[in-house]
Structure formats: C-alpha cells, structure tokens
Symmetry: C2
Subunit: 344 residues, 2 copies
DNA sequence: TTGTAGGCGTTATCAG
DNA sequence: CTGATAACGCCTACAA
C-alpha cells in the first residue's frame, strides 16, 4: 500500500484535503463528527505528514541545530553525552529533531548557521561554550535567529539577567563556594584554588566562589590562587605550588585539575585522611577514583533550553507556562570518600 | 535582498530554471559557456538550493539518523563524543547532516525508524551496539533501508564477512590477545580475564582473545575467567577472586572493570611495580590514572561508516573508490605507567 | 463548516 | 543543448 497523503486520505473519505489539514492543525475548526471520522482514518492509514511538504510551505523544519565542539580533554565528553541525550529527548517530546554540525571556530560556526538556515531551514540553535565577546550570539541576535545558550552571556558590564537572548547556566561560583565552605568546616584554614587562566567566564566565576567563601571566613588567599591550563599534569604541578604556599586542601575548576591535584596531595601530604581535593563537573573520572566534585544538573539545563526555545518558536501558543528566559541553576556537591587506588 | 531561488536566478539570467538546475545536478549537459555564466551568477547571488524543495521532489533529505543510547556508565560517554564528532564531520564533508533521536529499546528504535523515514525522509541510519539476534538490522534489511553498523553482526553460525549489511568494527579479540601477550612477555604466567557475562558479542570476543594468547603460551586458564557486570565495584570484586585463584595480572573488557581491578590489585599485591591491569577503550579515565588500555580507532571507524553509507546512497556515482562493506579495524595497545594516585 | 485555488522550490520528462 | 510542463505534499487565503 502506498504511503498516505492528504490527497489520498481526502479522496478515500470523500472530503477535501483542506479538511484533513484542518483536523491536524486546527481541530477546533472542524465539526466534531467529521473530525472523529478523519482522525480514525488517519490512524488507520498510518498517515504521517511529510516534513518536506510542510517545510516548503511554512519555512520551518522542526529542526534545531547544535554544534559538536572539538574533542579536547575527553574527560568532559561524558558530560556532553548526557547533555546531548537530554536535549534530544526533550526536543523529540516537543516534536523537534536535533541536527548536528561541526565547525572549526566561532566564525566558521556562524558560516554554518547561514548555510543551515538557508538550505535546511533550521528553526533555531542551541549554543554551548559561551565566552567573553562572543560573536555568535551577536550574529544570531542581529539576524533574528531563535536560540538559547548553555552558559550565560559573559560581560563585565552587562547584567546577564537583562540579556536579550535566552540562556540557562549553572551557578559555578555557588558550587565552588559550597565546596570551599565544606573544607572550612572540616577545619582547613589554608585552601587553594586551582583554576584556569583569568579571562574565561566560567573559570572566573568558579574562582570568585572560592574567594567569597574564603573572605567570608576571613581566611587569607595570598599565594593560594593558581592559574593553570586544564589537564591532569597541570593539576599536579599547581597542587605542588599550593602545598608550598601552605595549602592543605584544594578546590578545582575541573575534574582534570582535581585528579592531578589529588595525586600530588596524596603524595605530599600522605597523613591526611579526609577528602582534601574537590573537583568540578562530577565526571565519571571523579566517580571512578572517589573524588568529591561539584555536580551540574545538566539534564535540567538541557530540558530548560529546549523548553525556552520551543516555547519561543511556537509563539507561546504551546499551552505550557512561559519558561524563564534566564535561568541559573544550582549545582550540588557530590561528596565521596577517596577510596581511589588504595582501598576499594 | 531576498533569498535567491532557481526562478529568480533564471529570470535575471534570461534562461530557464531548468538550466540552472542542470548546471548544479548535471553540469555535463550544459554548454560550457552558459554553464560558466550560470555558475558565476550562482556564486554572486549566494544561491543555495533549498533542502525542502529538493527533498519534496527527490524524497531524499541528505540526512542520516543515529540513536542516542541511554547514558549508562558515563565512562564510555567520552568515546561516544569522539565517535559522534567524527561521524558528523565526515557526513558534513559528503553533504549529509546527522539527525539525533532517542529510543528506549530496540523495538522503540524500529518505531523511530518508521517515523523518521516517513516524515523526515532520512536517507539512512548509523547503528551502534549491535548484539545477538538484533531485530533492528533485520528490520532495516527487510525494508531496504540503507544503514551501516558500528559492530559486526553477532551470530554463532553466520560469517560476519558474508553479512548482507555493511558494518565496521574493531577487532576486540586482537586487542585483548595483544594485551595478554604483553603480560606474558613480562613474565606473568597466571593472567586473569575480567569480562562481562557470556552472551554479549563484543564481550565474548574480547574473552576469546585472552584465551587464545593463554593457550598459545600453554598457560592454564582454569579459575582465571571471571564474568561480571560492568562497573568499578564489580571490577574490584572480580580482581579479588582472581587473586585468590593465583592471578598476578588481569586483562579487562572495559576501563571501568580495569579501574576497580587495578585498585584491588594494588591493595592485594602492593609489591608489584609493572602495569598488571590492562583495560579496554582507552577512556580518559584510563589516561587519568595511568592505566594501560586497548585503544579503538574510533574516528577511523566513524569515517568508514559514513564512507560506506554515502557511497551506497550515491549509487556509487560519487567518484570515490568503493569502500569495503565489512571492515575489521585493529586496535592498538596504549601502554602507560600507573602513576595513578601515588606518583604524578 | 467545508471546499477551491494557488504556490512554496525543486527535479523529471519530454518536446523543441 | 535548452525550455516548457507537471508533479512532489502541504498550508494559507478566500470563496461557497
């Protein structure tokens, strides 16, 4: 049996194709009687509207784009997996599909936007890895392209909550602050921060959280603030300098750094028993070696990103409540005992 | 300026839209002179063919589907990241896009195939996680849907190299065999295998590799073959039993198992200095703790999957060489010194 | 409430 | 080698 279309259905039912279309897109305009008749015919025939036909007419593809960032560390890849999965699931529930694309740079990404918008009629984009002076958000805003970002707009002057574009983020600073406070409660008075070079929004945010907790407890921070590129080796190196500066515990901007730091601290301060290093992202690596870590509610973030995007795309006519345009989620601290490599 | 279409271009050039279409899809049919004229006009106007229009006419979307498997361990999520990225990049180079979807089960996945085929005109699918008696491949074959699988068809009777469908896989058995041989060369005579319960294709394959190496060296395997569910804790438990059976080294079916095993062995056999545990997949976790591991050339696999799929879809008219329909890639052994948590 | 007409952008077919 | 014509399946506007 050939695939059913509006026309074939209309013929077999003795109504016009327009009526079928109305049953699908504007049921209230059709007399209940015929509506039911048509609906059951639709079900029986297994009719599914063609995306191509619809897209040609409406210039909407029900497709959302997201860029695959280049694989770097790999440790955070597992986070991406969770993020993508939640994104896809939420989009699917709202009738949207996710289209993946690659780009070498932000400029290239913008080029891809143009291309995908032109040829594939993508309805919107999900952005990740926002940073200071992000060209992409500016371009998308200028061109009235719907999008939502995972990551607030980083700017030293503008308040993110007045931003013109939708975003969802996790309050990294709150996470490191909480982590630092825990260490303070455990009696540590010299707690180092091991983060990325100043200049990255998320990194500076996490550093600020540590600093807040230290100041609040009136603890000195001099010499305890290390800037390092991400990675295990850099983490070990940084921890060494922190120990020299007197640190007995370390809060890190990533699990990679934390892993290196934990190894180094275990070596330099073997007498310590409590978890003295706290990572960020709660990756499987952290779980695997029993490292405490700040966990991001990444599935929630993904779901909200889709919610705000699809709500906007449907023009608010989707029935649901209007999702907040700017949302800062709280992370949680996953505490673990470092059984690691010595006492599983 | 409005977006250029075939019609607008044709008008401004004084030719028929069909000629423009021919320049794009069948250049050889157009007189070189007009072809050049049209081509430069295309470039100038920034014309890009509409996917919707094309799709409506050709019933092809230039879109490939891939299912997001449920997130389980997380450790292997990082592998997925690399895989997806390579897939997307290769597809993009061939003019295809990747569409993500979710499914709860294989049956559900088949339902999604139908849906995506019907509404979105997907041109083909990439399958992962093939297993014994996989319904999905059967369905796709029955319905003449193009696809390529990452993972050979597992069947006790059929030779995978005669399979009706395209696949790419990594020779896991060769990997564990190589790993086992290395340990034998290092002087170990009692080497355990820590793998998944018998019944999974990939798991049994890896087990067989270990067994081959042991038999080849005329070493006993009695009591050295452990079946455990994946995970760090199970790995530690399994290693304990292996040590009781006299094992001094362990080859594992995954990095999760290996991580647990390494911890346990370090505890039970502290005098050993050499890397006595070898994992599988070479995940960031392995890299982080200095665990040797069998590395899969996953980017190569992804590229070949796309190559074989797009070559088939283009009906072999894409100019390139015909890619092999069945391809078994060799893994490599990444050797590391277990600095782990004690000596970064 | 239902039907009719037109067109979205493309390619296939066939005639010139 | 080029052009006219006819779909592909759908939705919007308007007419009945």
């Amino acid at each position: 049996m050939a695939k059913a279309t509006l026309v074939s259905l209309a013929e077999s039912l003795g109504v016009s194709r327009q009526t079928i279309s109305n049953v699908i897109n504007a049921p209230h305009r059709v007399k209940p009687e015929t509506r039911l008749r048509v609906q059951s015919a639709i079900e029986q025939s297994g009719y599914r509207p063609s995306a191509a036909g619809r897209q040609l007419r409406t210039r909407r593809s029900m497709n959302l784009g997201i860029r695959m960032m280049p694989v770097v560390d790999g440790i955070n890849g597992s986070i991406l997996d969770r993020f993508l999965h939640a994104l896809t699931e939420a989009a699917q529930q709202d009738g949207y599909r996710l289209t993946l694309f690659c780009a070498d740079s932000d400029a290239d990404e913008i080029g891809q936007y143009e291309e995908l918008l032109n040829v594939a009629d993508l309805d919107g984009f999900v952005l990740t890895g926002t940073h200071y002076g992000d060209d992409r958000t500016a371009w998308l805003l200028d061109n009235d392209v719907p999008f939502a970002a995972f990551g607030r707009p980083w700017s030293s002057i503008e308040d993110p909550f007045t931003s013109r574009h939708a975003w969802v983020d996790v309050d990294g600073g709150a996470g490191t602050e909480q982590a630092t406070r825990l260490l303070i409660e455990q009696g540590h008075t010299s707690i180092g921060f091991l983060g990325w070079p100043v200049g990255s929004g998320a990194g500076d945010d996490r550093r600020a959280g540590w600093r807040r907790a230290m100041h609040h407890a009136r603890l000195a921070t001099k010499g305890l603030d290390i800037q390092a590129d991400d990675g295990v080796a850099a983490g070990a190196l940084g921890a060494e300098r922190l120990v020299e500066a007197g640190a007995t515990a370390v809060v890190c901007a990533s699990d990679s750094l934390a892993l290196g730091a934990a190894a180094k601290l275990r070596q330099l301060l073997p007498e310590q028993k409590t978890p003295v290093v706290i990572g960020f992202d709660d990756t499987p690596v952290a779980a695997a070696v029993g490292l405490s870590s700040v966990a991001q509610p990444i599935e929630d973030a993904a779901r909200h990103i889709i919610a705000v995007l699809t709500h906007h795309l449907s023009g608010g006519r989707d029935g649901g409540d209007k999702p907040r345009k700017h949302l800062l989620l709280e992370p949680t601290l996953t505490q673990r005992t470092p059984y690691s490599f010595s006492s599983i």
